[in-house]
Assembly symmetry: C2
Homo-oligomer: 202 residues x 2
């Protein structure tokens, strides 16, 4: 299940095209190191199953500090779900002190009611994360899949498997947690020399 | 600008049909008084202009403890607006100790993007209000207009003017604040003998 440093570099190459080593050879100018977020929180908000993941940027691969899903029973009122979600996120931030949050970006919901409910989860999460002082960026789901699996329409299970390999996790992360870890991972790749675009601040 | 007790009773009669006096004559059984919320918070959430109003149930008319709008400039990030909104609501609750919140109910947004943004404001508000321990109910805008103005498709200005009269306010409240006060007022009417339906808990 583990991957070697070489394999990890190959994974990174998918994003930016050329590997760190080759690039260093081609570019002899010593550029100042980009400021890299040390601890990154990824959040995939939903009313009854918000996924979260916290990673610390490290070599040869990022360290996974926490990941999981905030599950709320179907008979809970919206407000009760939102309180559980915000309290979990607040506790997570207090414990691991991330400075950057990557949240799943805007998307097209099936209908207005779904959009409103998705918005509720997203808004509650944004408020508590911003209040804790984190910088928040959003990344579109398609872009995350492209960065992690190399294919924008990849299936959920493919993302989870690749996240497991990239983070050297003993077990396959739960689907929503895997999505959140993938968001954090994408940002760690984007902030490296392999950055492919500027993330949007929200 | 002021209204008499008689006029206020007439306003209440619009909601329930018959006045308190007539009803007492028809029904000799002394029913136990319904528990009435003493302090009610009304909230009309939106990303850049959340309206709020706090009233205390009193005779001959409710006392207005606070009302206003949380305004956020158009160039603020969503998360920053949501933090300002939640902090304002939290401060308001700490100061006036309402036990019930009435929030504007689900509605049809113009499009998915609008629904998502409206949902964000609503979700952030719900989380902080529920965390403070308030019971939260939602009332549809049409129902509020019907209760306050007697006409479900009433214009915003008509609602504001009636709110001003019912609460004996010296000045016309700002539009979003007036909507929030109208929500709180509707609940104070609904919990009286003139109740016309059960509010939906959210």
């Amino acid at each position: 299940m583990g991957i070697s440093l070489q394999q990890f570099n190959q994974l990174q190459n998918r994003v930016g095209g050329t590997g760190r080593k080759e690039r260093a050879d081609q570019d002899p100018v010593k550029r100042p190191a980009k400021p890299v977020a040390r601890v990154i929180l990824g959040v995939d908000p939903s009313l009854r199953g918000t996924g979260y993941g916290v990673i610390r940027v490290a070599k040869p691969f990022p360290e996974t500090l926490a990941h999981g899903t905030v599950t709320c029973p179907a008979d809970w009122e919206h407000s009760r779900c939102l309180v559980k979600t915000t309290q979990t996120l607040r506790e997570l931030i207090r414990e691991h002190q991330p400075t950057i949050c990557i949240i799943e970006g805007l998307f097209f919901a099936q209908n207005l009611k779904t959009a409103l409910i998705m918005g509720e989860a997203r808004g509650a999460a944004l408020a508590v994360i911003a209040e804790a002082g984190l910088e928040i960026y959003e990344v579109a789901p398609r872009k995350v899949k492209q960065a992690i699996v190399g294919y924008g329409a990849a299936q959920k299970i493919a993302v989870a498997k690749m996240v497991q390999r990239m983070l050297q996790l003993a077990e396959l992360p739960a689907p929503d947690a895997a999505d959140a870890l993938a968001l954090a991972l994408t940002h760690s790749l984007e902030n490296s020399a392999y950055a492919f675009s500027d993330p949007k601040r929200v």
